[in-house]
Amino acid sequence: MKFEVNGEELDATVLPGQVLRTVLRENERYEVKKGCDAGDCGACSVLVDDQPVHSCIYPAHRLEGKHVTTVAGLGSPEHPHPMQQRFSDAAGLQCGFCTAGMVVTASTFTDEQIADGTDLPRLLKGNLCRCTGYRAIRDAIYGVTNTEVAPAGDSAGRSTKAPAGMRVVTGREQYTLDFTTPTKTLHLAVLKSPHSHARITSIDTTAAEAMEGVHVVFTHRDSPATLFSTGRHENRTDDPDDTLVLDPVLRFRGQRVAAVVADTVRQAELALAAVVVEYEVLPAVFDPALAREPGAPLVHGEKGPESRISDPSRNVVAQMHGETGDVDAALAASAATVEGTWQTQRITHAALETHATRGWIDDDGRLVLRTSTQVPFLVRDEICHIFGLPTDRVRVFAARVGGGFGGKQELLTEDLVTMAVLRTGRSVQYEFTREDEFTIAPPRHPMRVGVKVGATAGGILTALAVDELMDTGAYGNHGIGVMFHSVHESISVYRAPNKRVDAESVYTNNLPSGAFRGYGLGQVIFAVESALDELARKLDIDPFELRRRNVVVPGDHMTVVDPNEESDLLFGSYGLDQCLDLVQNALAGPPPADSGSLIGATPVPTGDQWAFGTGMAMAMIATMPPRGHFADTTVALNADGTYTIGVGTAEFGNGTTTVHGQLTATVLGTTPDRIVIEQSDTDVARYDTGAFGSAGVVVAGKALYAAAQKLKIAMIARAQAIVTGVGDPAQDPGVPVSTDLGLVDVALTPEGVLMPAGAWGPGRVVSAAELLAHGELRADGSHDGTPRSVAFNVHGFSVAVDRNTGEVRILRSVQAADAGTVLNPEQLRGQVEGGTAQAIGTALYEEMMLDGAGQVTTTAFRNYRTPKFSDLPVTEVLFAATHDDLGPLGAKSMSEAPYNPVAPALANAVRDAIGVRPHELPMSRDRLWRLLQA
């Protein structure tokens, strides 16, 4: 079939039942993304005969003679389409996986539609972005410039562009599967368990193996016997060893039964039906409260202490019980108390790039895995552990990753690909579908959180107790870490002489839960902040004031239940007081021009049915994960005056790459565009724990900053030796400099080292080439992730609630963030907006539903309500003015944190409006309506 793509004729084979997206990607038009494969997300948008369509649902048999234009056909980095330039200038992207479709779609908007703006919610309802919260996308479409070009040596603190931005908006940036392997790639498909709990009694793969194109079929008989966890941490013993690559016991619906490797995806999927399996169905348990009762079916009852499960005989993977003081006595003596139980739901990360791995054997015979991961080094180490391989025989790397949010701190596809590559010697790919993301990828842990809190009449907390039950599902990946983290900063942020925590993380036969932005804190903060809001009402104290009277301040011990606990958590800075003031003052004042609706002034609704309210909540978070987070980085000078940095951390829209460039350029007196960044590859850095716990700036960034400082000293020393003749120009740059001439005017410039005039003659610039003539200049820097500081976020809302329908309309959304020194204001604003957007989704819209018997019933975006442009307000973002003693240039992390205070702030505003306390998320229209009927 012949048709044109971006002006070039393509003569392609089109199979019946194929869609345009598949045909385009099979012909190396990788700029066309596969986000949902169902017409919901718009990432695959292209023009067909100038009409925008979703290429994933466009039947390819209609292509004859058609003209297709992809984002790469609209423009190039050298000659971008005006809309591409706008997205770049506005910083209208984060991970960028939705951007191709956004740009193609927006390129069809008329000048009138853009000038008017009010139609944007409708025009963009077929384009999902999970990262930005859409404000930056709106700015891009409007042609607003939010970025700046930094002078040499002065980029930190400025809103410089993401280095990959122009490549992303023109479709040139590669994501995980956007490349062609030299040899033909095989594809892997997985047969999934139809039962929530069963044992495979027989499995026959003969018929499947005989099918066309099939190379191998794997079953539990082929699986390594090594137990592991899909959840990845610096210390592998942080997670329970409860998982096998292929297990004869199936503990949730959708668990792997067998895997087929075939020439094409279609052949692999068709062969699944030919695998003959007999099961012994076992009793199952789906309610975490029932799961820990005597007599409940045991999910991992046979596991021993080597699996590190707290109590397999009670389905408890982790538990914490502790008390300081006497909570019950304190509550009994309190002037006011509040008690309640709050419930949160499962949330899917909805990263637009699904989990995927392609693996092959490189020319040196090493196993190479190119995977959509936040943690390439941790994946490498665990793959080596499972398969008994030495680490120098495995390379793991990530190209740009299309969104993470914690979901890619898991090993979900790499193990099967490893098995298939090792068996076949071929390149093999395994790509999750969107349905897989909903049904087998671990979502946010659902939690039931009971809170008891008491205070004196003056609003001084007397006691705070939390009773938490979390459903970790069939496997314990992150089921331990999330639980311990969830009750830490949520509780230690408040001073109360009496505290108690009872927390249990419980196995069920539901799909496994996992790591999600905030790592458990958000669920508990929703409950604690709701309870404190109710306490403020009882005491008739302003909720901001109640916080001020009870939050920790520098000098306080951050106590969960042990006031004497030793910790590396410090107050490197403190901006909570500022954040409280900023939000309170903002809400008390008139709204700024750009607030409320994304498309202009928010009309305050009129009519008796509308109820109005305001609410606030706050959150504290450690600036990095506990128990060690390591980064080894390098910075090297290149002969053309650019620098190459090697850093292990991955880029998935978090913006750390931009900041790494800024930090390095600032130290080395150059501009960020002269920094070449090699990253997220076990070959380019010695080690990096990975991009989670918001560690990209404060760990890897700090390591890079140190490396750049070392390199600067080495460059100056060498320039001095060359110009003055004092010292050895060939001295090893890794050795501390012995010859300090005390020159104050020496400076690094983009052209080289500027030496002042002196006894040696006139001042001059020593170029990179001249410096490197005496040997390479390369420095390394490391950081071990300790001690850690704390960051703060306060959110405030004003809302209107329709009592008749339960609709919540957000009139103001304000967040103040204490991120220390702001290294890139526009990016940080984007992180706060994106976290807020995701949390508004959690608070009002999103809900993974199960049928009570382990079956997920929301298996596509169309049934899930990921926030669209039409669902989100402008969030006014304010920054506290602080400088952290621990972070690079005084910065703190701020990626997970903005998510955490949003849901309770919104719940408190709804409570203020309707007079009834919501205890359950999401606060969907039907739930709020029902609350109002009671």
Binding site: H61, T805, D926
Partner: protein
């Protein structure tokens, strides 16, 4: 998504090419068929979109919309000032979960044949009292009201060899005064309730509820009813739909409220097509559409 069980897609050029059966099913725009896994027994499709059916034509008594008319063609059809009810075309198209990009391909017949409660073309055509013309094998043809054609969730009164050829919208319906309300759990999300009211020249009043019910629910009154009469008629209905897009008790409540608002609007006797506020299909309740 690729449909892995499909071996053949035949593009029909004439009626004789439409040969269907258990394994060979009709294909319209494809925007729904290619958006979800299909039953493995559906191994072939007959593409109806190259039959050259005139998208929209007017006869003496009807506006005839072909099954292969795209949503785009329907919404682009020039507004006739004699047809105040035509504004429902846009209101219903905007009620589709899918974006304007899907309108370029999705067909009116495909939307009805998919038989989802939130099928906005079903809402539109049922609300306007349209009759579907059905073609069977060997030249058979029959007619059925759209409100009867959709019999339940993903269930439709069509034989395996039948396709929808067109929809006949009575011009008397297009000359009716109408009122429209919808809601979903998110602003532009999949409809949880769509209520359409229509009063024609004879004074007959028809209230059609879709999205909140597994199939269209239609109430007919000789004239605009009193509030009690309407609520009695609707409260007798009990089969409110439950899916991730709304709980049935809420759907019942908002549907009844919308029906009452529509009743009040229609009994006020104003021609709402000239009322700019409501002609956008939005008011304080359906502000979610704005």
């Amino acid at each position: 998504m690729d449909l892995i069980d499909v071996h053949e897609i035949r593009v029909a050029r004439t009626r004789d090419d439409i040969v269907l059966g258990e394994s060979v099913r009709p294909l319209g725009g494809g925007t729904w068929l290619f958006s979800e896994p299909q039953p493995p027994e559906h191994t072939g499709f007959v593409d109806l979109t190259a039959l050259g059916w005139t998208p929209i034509e007017t006869t003496a008594d009807h506006l005839v919309v072909s099954a292969t008319c795209t949503i785009r063609e329907l919404t682009d059809f020039a507004l006739d000032p004699e047809w105040p009810a035509q504004r429902l075309f846009r209101q219903c198209a905007e009620s589709l979960l899918m974006s304007f990009k899907i309108w370029n391909l999705a067909t009116v017949g495909g939307n009805v044949a998919t038989a989802l409660p939130a099928g906005a073309m079903t809402s539109l055509l049922a609300g306007l009292g349209a009759r579907a013309v059905i073609w069977g094998a060997e030249g058979r043809e029959r007619g059925i009201l759209v409100s009867d054609l959709v019999t339940g969730v993903r269930a439709i009164d069509l034989l395996l060899d039948e396709v929808i050829r067109s929809f006949e919208i009575p011009l008397t319906s297009l000359r009716s005064r109408t009122a429209f309300r919808r809601i979903s759990l998110s602003n532009l999300g999949r409809s949880a309730a769509v209520v359409i009211g229509r009063v024609d020249a004879t004074g007959e009043c028809v209230i059609t509820v879709t999205a909140a019910t597994p199939r269209p629910v239609q109430l007919r009154f000789d004239s605009v009813p009193e509030a009690g009469e309407l609520s009695d008629a609707l409260s007798g209905y009990s089969d409110w739909y439950s899916d991730p897009h709304g709980a049935p008790d809420w759907r019942r409540a908002v549907s009844m409220r919308f029906a009452e608002e529509i009743r009040a609007e229609l009994s006020a006797g104003t021609d709402s097509s000239t009322d700019t506020d409501s002609s956008t299909g939005t008011d304080t309740h359906t502000g979610s559409d704005a």
